[in-house]
């Protein structure tokens, strides 16, 4: 067949050459040839124009950059700084696998340069930790203390890092509301990323998927946002599950189940999109789709006129879906379909519908064309902040295989972006964060912790080595990165924002507060979500989110009862009671320390934090119910969910890792020191507001600068604790 096709091609091409020889044929190019010639000519012309402009303007741009950054350039100790973030890499596991020879590349990095633990933030949560990384500040200066915060007017949970509202002004035309302006999307993280400071000195940054960078802020470089980028519905990821089974429509955390009816070989349903802001009362936009069953394990999906072959157990590629709002306005999204079964019941899983990077509905990159550039360069990719659907696996609607597929796919997409950046940026900063490490450990820790409640009967499961395989894969990634950075001008750091541990038991802090008399429930209030069952007129403290406890302060909360003058004493009282709190049933320490947030944070936003930050012991965490403000009747809950590993514990117990291809001569490096270190290595003065201090990084020959910029800043040079 292949030979036949080749032969046919040769004949056709020969024929075409001969036909082109016809003297009059030149005029008769027609549309087909017109497409070919026209589109190529435009591209060629644009390429020529852009190339010529770049070459002609380059000396001017270079001069401008030189003048602006000459001070830094003169003191710079490196040309390129590469930071590879492996979200949640646990140092004890890294040490174990290195000792067993399973991570040769990280071992090599350790031998050649540095491997040490990296101090994390309180609380050790990714949004908090990465915000401290990128601002070089403690959370009191960047305003991110948890994934969630609470609305002080109604106590409802809100996303802490971003606020999204519709356009402020609209023009009402009958049933339509025409927006007069863009949606109001605000980054609630404060403080300036260190790459912005670098940019002010003419140093370019290539920043890929660092959490809490949505909406993308302008700076000198390119950036793709990550954690907290919403899906098209504005949520942090809502999957859809279509089933023809008898179960009625169900609500799951992080997703919804829709009942469908099979008619012959056809199943028709719809995808749920964002609310239609254009037509008042129209509700959520819908995109109809149809699945035609073509075999016992195959079907054809038709959506927006596009046909996609589905096979049971295999994800479709990213499919572009359009939601029509009216007046010709469409919103583009992408999602993947997973046909799980056809018989006896039809089951179809659809990933959260994500912002299409080729036509982004929200500012997920800077400049805005950067997400499109990546889409054109490597194909469509996941844009959702938490792209891996942990809720789908928790709800047992996804299997381990299905979830791992999402993680591996996201990592592959990320790897392409990262290496493209490394290829392109030879002078400047490259940062890329891989968060599959975090997700897989969250969901597969039950396989390496035999004492975990979800471990029972899983000794022979297929993915019991998922975490080990993950670490090996990350080691391969590091190996490739080392190869791409194998020059004298690149400093490479491999870091994690925190470590990982088991999450066996959840503590319902609202129950504890109730038992201690700090929280009172309304009659019938138990079990209600989002603190709806709390009697605010008698409640002094409450728990919401993963990080800690809030006081119900008069004048701050709308129904506050705690006098601000008594707040310090109450915080102290709670800290004393909670520090060393034990799980009597298991005879284990549940809470290692409780912190008074006003004492551990400094900065203008410290009053926005939960009043107490809880440092749980290993194996414990806030319970699922307490995190969503749903008081139960039990203080401790066994965690039997797939989400079995966590890191929301005492920060002292869960440091991250720091590997570097150079020796580092600093005791107890912290995540927030890395931004200042990068600035220092590029010869840029560390801004006074940063809490981090530059680490003392050796030169290529292994010697530490005697008159280094780190010392020159007046920072304390610390004694080496380099592990080699």
């Amino acid at each position: 067949m292949r030979r036949y096709k080749t032969g046919l091609s040769v004949i056709l091409l020969t024929g075409a050459f001969v036909l082109c020889d016809a003297p009059t044929a030149q005029a008769y190019i027609g549309p087909g040839a017109g497409f070919a010639v026209g589109s190529s000519l435009v591209a060629f012309f644009l390429a020529f124009l852009s190339g010529a402009a770049a070459i002609v303007l380059w000396p001017t741009r270079w001069l401008f950059r030189f003048l602006r950054g000459r001070h830094a350039m003169a003191r710079a100790r490196t040309k390129r700084f590469v930071i590879l973030g492996l979200d949640g890499m646990e140092p004890t596991l890294a040490e174990k696998y290195m000792a067993e020879g399973k991570m040769p590349n990280l071992s090599k990095l350790k031998r050649k340069g540095t491997f040490t633990r990296l101090g994390t933030t309180a609380p050790p949560l990714s949004p908090v930790a990465w915000s401290s990384f990128l601002t070089g500040c403690n959370p009191g200066k960047h305003n991110i203390f948890d994934f969630l915060t609470r609305n002080t007017r109604n106590y409802l949970p809100e996303l802490s890092s971003v606020s999204i509202h519709g356009p402020r002004r609209v023009l009402k035309l009958g049933k339509y509301s025409i927006p007069l302006g863009k949606s109001d999307i605000r980054l609630m993280r404060k403080g300036k990323p260190f790459w912005n400071t670098l940019g002010e000195h003419g140093i370019f940054g290539n920043i890929i998927r660092v959490p809490i960078t949505f909406p993308a802020e302008p700076f000198r470089g390119v950036l793709l946002s990550a954690m907290c980028v919403p899906d098209l519905r504005g949520s942090q990821g809502t999957f859809s599950f279509y089933s023809s089974g008898e179960s009625t429509q169900e609500e799951h955390i992080g997703g919804e189940q829709i009942r469908v009816k099979r008619e012959g070989n056809l199943v028709r349903s719809y995808l749920v999109g964002p609310d239609n802001g254009l037509r008042e009362g129209a509700g959520a936009m819908q995109c109809p789709f149809e699945v035609e069953i073509t075999g016992k394990d195959s079907a054809v999906l038709t959506v927006n006129g596009e046909r996609v072959e589905l096979t049971c157990g295999k994800y479709s590629p990213w499919v572009n879906v359009k939601f029509k709002a009216g007046l010709g306005i469409k919103v583009d999204g992408i999602c993947e379909f997973l046909l799980q079964a056809i018989e006896p019941e039809f089951r179809l899983y659809v990933t959260p519908i994500q912002i299409d990077p080729a036509k982004p509905a929200m500012p997920i990159s800077y400049p805005s064309v950067f997400s499109n550039y990546l889409a054109k360069n490597q194909g469509r990719y996941a844009t959702l902040g938490l792209a891996e659907d942990t809720w789908g696996l928790n709800a047992v609607l996804l299997g381990d295989d299905d979830f791992l597929h999402q993680c591996l796919e996201a990592d592959e997409e990320r790897e392409k972006m990262f290496f493209d950046g490394l290829e392109k940026v030879r002078n400047g900063l490259c940062v890329c964060v891989f968060d599959g490490v975090d997700r897989i450990q969250h969901m597969f820790w039950r396989y390496i912790d035999k004492d975990h409640p979800a471990h029972k009967g899983q000794a022979k499961v297929q993915h019991r080595d998922a975490i080990e395989e993950l670490y090996k894969r990350m080691d391969e990634l590091v190996g490739k990165t080392m190869k791409a950075c194998d020059d004298d001008n690149t400093v490479l750091m491999v870091i994690s924002d925190h470590g990982f541990n088991s999450f066996r038991r959840g503590v319902d802090l609202n129950v504890w507060l109730e038992q201690q008399g700090y929280l009172v429930l309304k009659p019938e209030g138990r079990g209600q979500k989002y603190l709806a069952g709390v009697d605010w007129s008698k409640t002094k403290a409450y728990c919401l989110g993963l990080a800690g406890i809030w006081l119900n302060i008069k004048g701050r909360e709308s129904q506050g009862i705690v006098d601000p003058a008594d707040a310090d004493a109450l915080r102290e009282e709670l800290c004393e009671k909670l520090t060393g709190f034990r799980d009597e049933e298991k005879d284990e320490l549940a809470i290692s320390r409780a912190f008074d947030a006003h004492k551990i944070y400094a900065g203008p936003y410290k009053t926005e934090s939960p009043d107490l930050i809880i440092g749980y012991n290993r194996g414990y965490r806030v319970s699922w119910e307490a995190a969503i403000g749903q008081p139960t009747d039990k203080l401790f809950h066994d965690n039997d969910k797939a989400w079995s590993g966590d890191h929301c514990i005492d920060p002292k117990l869960i440091p991250g890792v720091l590997y570097c291809n150079r020796k580092i001569d600093t005791q107890h490096p912290r995540l927030m020191d890395l931004g200042p270190t990068v600035l220092d290595m590029f010869g840029v003065d560390v801004p006074g507001h940063m809490d981090g201090r530059p680490l003392t990084v050796a030169d290529l020959d292994g010697t530490f600068p005697t008159n280094g910029h780190a010392d020159g800043n007046g920072k304390l040079k610390q004694k080496a604790v380099t592990v080699s």
Binding site: T14, A54, V369
Partner: protein, 312 residues
């Protein structure tokens, strides 16, 4: 400075010489292929032309109630749609999209990484490769489409490039021979056509000046020695197909003059040509019709491509 100038001039000359050499080689290749494929294509056209003529008559018969301009618009639009579908189903749409994405990505890379001169050159190079790939993927559908396209265009050409003689108008008729003049040649009188100037002999051809005296489709009869050869003459005001030339077995002439049968290979006459007047209109007249056709068919294809999900 002189040395640099000399190097530049020599370099430019060498590049030009190389270009000329490549063109010469290509042309030689084409000519050689032409020699090989001419008998095949001639045979194909001999079969195809009568069918195309009938199809042309049917199609243009249907639009004949409209003005020539509207007829051209409709036919161009329909051709655009047909070509769109032909393109869709004969091309590798996935590969075309990938090539176009690569072009866009590299154009964006030029903008995003403009400070890195190395990236500028790298992206330029990759851009050229992507354009070459796109051209390659375009070539197959173009190669498939070009032959039927040429046949269709030739049917348009015989209607729009020239117009029929009007009653009372004069024209020259040329008869070209294979060898220098050594034959007895005569143009027989025909009702409706008068011969104003009898045969004027050139080096290897004869010319007559004729005048049409009434509308109709006439057969001019030439007596060459004892052999009778006919050539069609069209007189009238409507949009009618005209056959400018009756020729021998060359496939190119056959392609562009499809109406009349080929001259017998034994005939001493190589071709007979009537100098019809050009059609005068800036929209559908001589040469303009190609432009109009091109613009309309392209526009229709461009507008409908997203509807039919065709990528080019």
């Amino acid at each position: 400075m002189d040395t640099l100038g000399k190097i530049l001039v020599d370099g430019a000359l060498a590049a030009w010489w190389l270009y000329e050499a490549i063109i010469a080689v290509l042309m030689a290749g084409f000519s050689a292929l032409n020699v090989v494929l001419d008998p095949v294509l001639s045979t194909v056209l001999r079969v195809l032309n009568p069918i195309a003529n009938i199809a042309g008559d049917v199609v243009y018969g249907m639009v004949s109630v409209l003005s020539p301009a509207w007829g051209l618009v409709i036919i161009s639009a329909i051709t655009g749609v047909v070509m769109l579908f032909l393109f869709k189903y004969t091309s590798n749409q996935t590969a075309i999209v990938a090539s176009k994405d690569a072009i866009k990505a590299n154009l964006l890379a030029l903008k995003l990484y403009k400070d890195e001169l190395r990236v500028t050159f790298l992206s330029q190079w990759r851009l050229l490769l992507a354009i070459a790939r796109l051209q390659w993927h375009m070539f197959k559908p173009v190669a498939i489409v070009i032959f039927p396209m040429l046949v269709g265009l030739s049917q348009m050409g015989i209607r729009y490039q020239w117009r029929a003689l009007r009653s009372g108008e004069q024209a020259y008729v040329h008869m070209y021979l294979d060898e220098p003049l050594s034959h007895e040649v005569a143009l027989e009188p025909v009702q409706g056509v008068s011969v104003e100037v009898p045969a004027m002999a050139g080096e290897q051809d004869y010319a007559w000046r004729i005048r049409a005296t009434e509308s109709g489709r006439f057969a001019l009869k030439f007596l060459v020695d004892s052999e009778m050869i006919e050539k069609e003459l069209v007189v009238g005001d409507k949009l009618e197909r005209v056959s400018v030339e009756r020729a021998g077995a060359n496939w190119v002439t056959q392609l562009f003059h499809p109406i009349e049968p080929l001259l017998p290979s034994s005939s001493p006459v190589s071709r007979i040509e009537i100098k019809y007047p050009d059609r005068e209109s800036w929209f559908y007249g001589s040469n303009y019709w190609v432009l109009t056709f091109f613009v309309i068919s392209m526009l229709v294809a461009l507008v409908l491509a997203p509807v039919f999900k065709v990528k080019f």
